[in-house]
Each structure stands twice: as structure tokens, then as C-alpha cells.
């Protein structure tokens, strides 16, 4: 078997690109689990909603509201879709998740799983599962750049850098700011944080909105790369859960590093031993669970 170093680098870069999506999604999941104690199975559906929000905003929204010329372009979608989906998350928390406070994890998991199925079902009804390409990739991001060892699509490079920035900003927000300190304290002991005068129910709602907004942002970024389909989130979320398990719930940087690392490993496996490329993440998950059940970066 002759595997060129170049092929490994190329797949590694493409894998890193996927990894950046894993990182953004697992970040939101970890933050939500930390404060709400809910395993958010709807996360993939909100990612899908982000991509659809971008698609619909560009191609259909204008027609729906009687302004056929209105097209929400990619850049605006990058801002508006996460806001819209984040607000939807706020609504979901206020109307449904709040009622589960204090109950077993399982109820939150079942409810969010149900929400995911409803959302996927709705979109499957109106858009086919084969997927619709997103036609709004900005012209300036067409073409490729020469990285020296390979030609890399400009858009993918943009998506990679952009999601890395978002991850680092989120890390900074949580680990280095006052708001982040409140969030971390709330993750440790929400009752006491509330007894110290902080409106924890509001904090929880905003955190859920922020987490799913992050998923939607990843969805918008993904739209020009993958086709927009009702099941795009369901396929991805399984891997993302594995990423969260491997990284551990305790650390924000852990979620980012694990996401990127696993994306790369997945990419490289495509060259080294292609049949294992879609299972390698789960093999790693099994090993990590055996050796370090709290995850690589988790706190016991």
C-alpha cells in the first residue's frame, strides 16, 4: 500500500474542515448540558434549520412576503439565521424545557428527540430528502487557494477560519469574561447562583438560545458545502455526540480540540484505511470510555 504524505495532508485538511463543524456543534451541546442538564437531541435539527433559514431566505422568503426582489444573501444569513434559530430556541426553552426542570435527564432527552423528529418531518414534507444545493455562495469565495501542498477551495478555507474564530470567541466568552464566570458557576451549583441574586432561569433560557444559535451558524456555514437537506443534522449529530463523549463535558477547550482532532483523524483514515473512515470516531469513543470514562478533558 503506497500512501503519499500529500494525500494524507489533503484529507487531513478536509477532515479539519469537518472537524470545525463538529467543534461548533459540540461546543453548544456541552454548554447546554452544563447548565440545563439536558442532552439536546434537537441540536442537529437546529443545525439543519440554520441551513434551511439561509436557503429559504435567499430563494423563497421574498416570494412568501410579497417582495420578490428580497434576497437575504449569505453574509446576512450568517447573522440573521442564528438569531432567528436562537429565538426559536428561547421559545422552546420557555414553553417546553422549563417544565422539565428537576426531572430525570431522560425526559429532556426524549423531549428534544421528539422536537428533532417533528422538525425533520416537517421539512421532509416540503423539501425532499435528496437535498437542495445552496446557490448563494459569495463570488469572492469561489475558486481555490494554493496552500503549497494542495489547492484548497476558498470557501472551505473561509468556513474553517470562520468557525475557528467563533470557537475561540466562545471559549473567551466563557472562560475569561464576567458573564462566562456566571455561566461556569451556574454549571456547578445553579441554586446557589440564584440565591446570590442572579436570574438563573433567564440565564438558562439565553444559554439554550446561544447554544442552538451556534448550531444554526454551523448550518449556514455548511449550506454552500453540503446540500441542504432535512436529514443533514441527524446524520451529523451522532458523530457530534461521540465527539462530546470523547472530549468530556467539563471543558470548552476540550470540545474544540476534540472536534478538530477527530475531524482530522476521520479525514486521514479515509486515506489510510477507507472502510473504517465512518467508524473510526466510534472506535475511539469506545476506547476512551474504557480508559477514561469522564472523557479526555472531562472533570471527574
Amino acid at each position: 500500500m503506497d500512501i503519499s504524505f500529500k494525500a494524507i495532508l489533503i484529507q487531513g485538511m478536509l477532515g479539519l474542515n469537518n472537524g470545525a463543524f463538529y467543534a461548533m456543534l459540540s461546543l453548544g451541546l456541552a454548554v447546554i448540558f452544563g447548565l440545563l442538564n439536558i442532552v439536546n437531541f434537537a441540536h442537529g435539527a437546529f443545525y439543519m434549520l440554520g441551513a434551511f433559514a439561509a436557503l429559504i431566505g435567499l430563494t423563497q422568503l421574498g416570494g412568501w412576503i410579497g417582495m420578490p426582489d428580497l434576497q437575504i444573501n449569505f453574509w446576512w444569513a450568517l447573522l440573521l439565521a442564528p438569531l432567528f434559530v436562537g429565538l426559536l430556541g428561547v421559545l422552546v426553552d420557555r414553553t417546553m424545557l422549563k417544565r422539565l426542570a428537576g426531572l430525570d435527564h431522560l425526559y429532556g432527552l426524549l423531549l428534544t428527540f421528539g422536537i428533532a423528529l417533528v422538525l425533520q418531518g416537517l421539512f421532509t414534507n416540503y423539501y425532499n430528502t435528496a437535498g437542495t444545493p445552496y446557490p448563494g455562495k459569495p463570488e469572492m469565495l469561489d475558486g481555490v487557494v494554493n496552500l503549497g501542498f494542495m489547492f484548497f477551495p476558498k470557501y472551505r478555507l473561509f468556513a474553517l477560519v470562520f468557525s475557528l474564530l467563533v470557537c475561540l470567541l466562545t471559549w473567551y466568552l466563557i472562560e475569561r469574561t464576567k458573564l462566562g464566570a456566571i455561566l461556569r458557576a451556574g454549571t456547578e451549583n445553579p441554586d446557589l447562583v440564584q440565591a446570590l441574586g442572579i436570574n438563573v432561569p433567564l440565564l438558562i433560557t439565553l444559554t439554550y438560545g446561544f447554544g442552538v444559535g451556534l448550531a444554526a451558524l454551523a448550518g449556514v456555514l455548511a449550506a454552500p458545502i453540503y446540500s441542504v437537506s432535512p436529514l443533514m443534522g441527524a446524520e451529523l449529530i451522532i458523530v457530534v455526540f461521540a465527539v462530546v463523549v470523547i472530549g468530556g463535558m467539563g471543558s470548552i477547550m476540550g470540545a474544540i480540540v476534540t472536534g478538530l482532532g477527530l475531524g482530522m483523524i476521520e479525514g486521514i483514515t479515509k486515506v489510510v484505511y477507507p472502510p473504517a473512515s465512518s467508524t473510526v470516531v466510534f472506535i475511539i469513543m469506545a476506547i476512551v470510555l474504557l480508559v477514561r470514562p469522564a472523557g479526555l478533558f472531562g472533570r471527574e
Binding site: 454549571t187 446570590l196 441574586g197
Partner: protein, 238 residues
């Protein structure tokens, strides 16, 4: 600084509290006047800590009447009660392990002017200044206790609910805490102390309430302590 407030800072009457199905408090009654240090004494499991938690709404269900500074708070969520001027130091101290000392100190929002500044707090607790950037998890028991008290002095709370602050600490630290309580009283704070250590509490407090089986069994003024020694001992002995 508290002249604008009525003399009665806290009134608790017929307070019942539940954890799940367990009925813990069976009608607790007591009042605390402005500037007083009042203790809640009693055996383990008598309901003293639960009384503090019930005042703040940290129990699964409560009924009765609690007014803070003349305002009924029984229907309010904990953060609203805290924002009326109540500072709470829990028995387990509740230092956030993933936050630094200073982040712990700055966590509670300032609710009104008149709280202590960070410099004043560091003057009162010099140890905390040295360790300001340490993680909360790295502190000794005494330092954690200092931090848990210091944390509620900055926001401007005027009623401090302190739960078992001397528990498990070395005598020299207990002595320091006694000094701290005296200083806080001198600054005009109103303090409710839940204490196991009667020798610590006796010289500090103006009045003592003895709690038994989720009710107030006795109220004893500072002046009457000597003649009630036997009664207190029998109420507190195991």
C-alpha cells in the same frame, strides 16, 4: 446607612417547608431587628439550615409568611429575594471551584450602594488578597469560609444569613471569624447565625432562638443566658 429601613428587617411567621414529600419546618416564628445578631441554635436535623434556605426559597415547597424589610417574599424566586438585600452563606460554603477567588467575589451582582468595596474586603480578609487569582478549588477550608462570607459583603446586602460558619475549622480561624462578625455588626449589618458552637455564638449574639423539630422552642436574650444555662444545655444536648 440603614435609616431608611424599618426596624424589623426580617419577620418569619408560621413558616412551613418541604423537601419533596418530607415536611421539615412546622411553623417557625421569629423576628430580627435592624443591626441585631441573632442565632438559631439546635441539634442536628432540627431545621436550622432549612429555615435559612426556606427564607430564600431554596426548598421544594414553602408556605407561611416571610417578610424582608417589610416586604412579603414567600412568592418570589430566590434571586429576587437576594436582590432585596439578603446575603446567604451556605453550610457547604459553596465556593465555585472553576472560578478564581476574585471571580467568586465579583459574582453576585451589586444590588444597591453601600456594600463594601473590593479593597475594603481585602483589608478585612488579607488572605484572600494574596490568593485572589487562585482557583476556588485550591483554597483551604478556612479560606473558603472567608471567601463565602466576603462574597456577600460587596453587593450591598444588609441581612446576612450565615450557616455554620465555624464548622470544621481550627480554633484560631474560629477566633478570626468572631472578629469578622463583630466588625460586620459594627458596620450595621443584621446577621442571622446558624451555629452548633454555642461558645462561639454566645458572646456575639443579641438573642438566641432554639429550634427543635422544625419549630422555635425557646427565645433567650443575651442578658438571660446565665439563668437559662441548664435549659439551653438540655435543649442542645444530644
Amino acid at each position: 446607612m440603614l435609616e431608611a429601613y424599618p426596624d424589623e428587617i426580617l419577620r418569619v411567621s408560621d413558616l412551613h417547608a418541604f423537601y419533596g414529600e418530607s415536611h421539615i419546618l412546622h411553623g417557625v416564628d421569629f423576628t430580627v431587628q435592624r443591626g441585631e445578631v441573632v442565632t438559631l441554635l439546635g441539634r442536628n436535623g432540627s431545621g436550622r439550615s432549612t429555615t435559612l434556605k426556606a427564607i430564600l426559597g431554596l426548598v421544594s415547597r414553602r408556605s407561611g409568611h416571610v417578610s424582608v424589610n417589610g416586604r412579603q417574599v414567600i412568592g418570589l424566586p430566590p434571586h429576587r429575594i437576594a436582590r432585596l438585600g439578603v446575603g446567604y452563606c451556605p453550610e457547604e460554603r459553596g465556593i465555585f471551584a472553576s472560578l478564581s477567588v476574585e471571580e467568586n467575589l465579583l459574582l453576585p451582582p451589586v444590588i444597591r450602594a453601600g456594600g463594601m468595596s473590593l479593597d475594603e474586603i481585602y483589608d478585612m480578609f488579607p488572605n484572600l488578597k494574596e490568593r485572589r487569582s487562585s482557583q476556588g478549588s485550591k483554597l483551604s477550608g478556612g479560606e473558603q469560609q472567608m471567601l463565602a462570607i466576603a462574597r456577600i459583603l460587596r453587593p450591598g446586602a444588609y441581612l446576612l444569613l450565615l450557616d455554620e460558619i465555624t464548622e470544621g475549622l481550627a480554633p484560631v480561624i474560629v477566633q478570626t471569624l468572631g472578629e469578622v462578625i463583630r466588625k460586620l455588626k459594627a458596620r450595621g449589618y443584621t446577621i442571622v447565625l446558624v451555629e452548633q458552637n454555642f461558645h462561639f455564638a454566645a458572646p456575639l449574639a443579641d438573642r438566641h432562638y432554639v429550634i427543635e423539630h422544625g419549630r422555635v422552642a425557646a427565645m433567650i436574650d443575651k442578658e438571660d443566658l446565665d439563668e437559662n444555662k441548664d435549659r439551653i444545655n438540655s435543649l442542645l444536648s444530644v
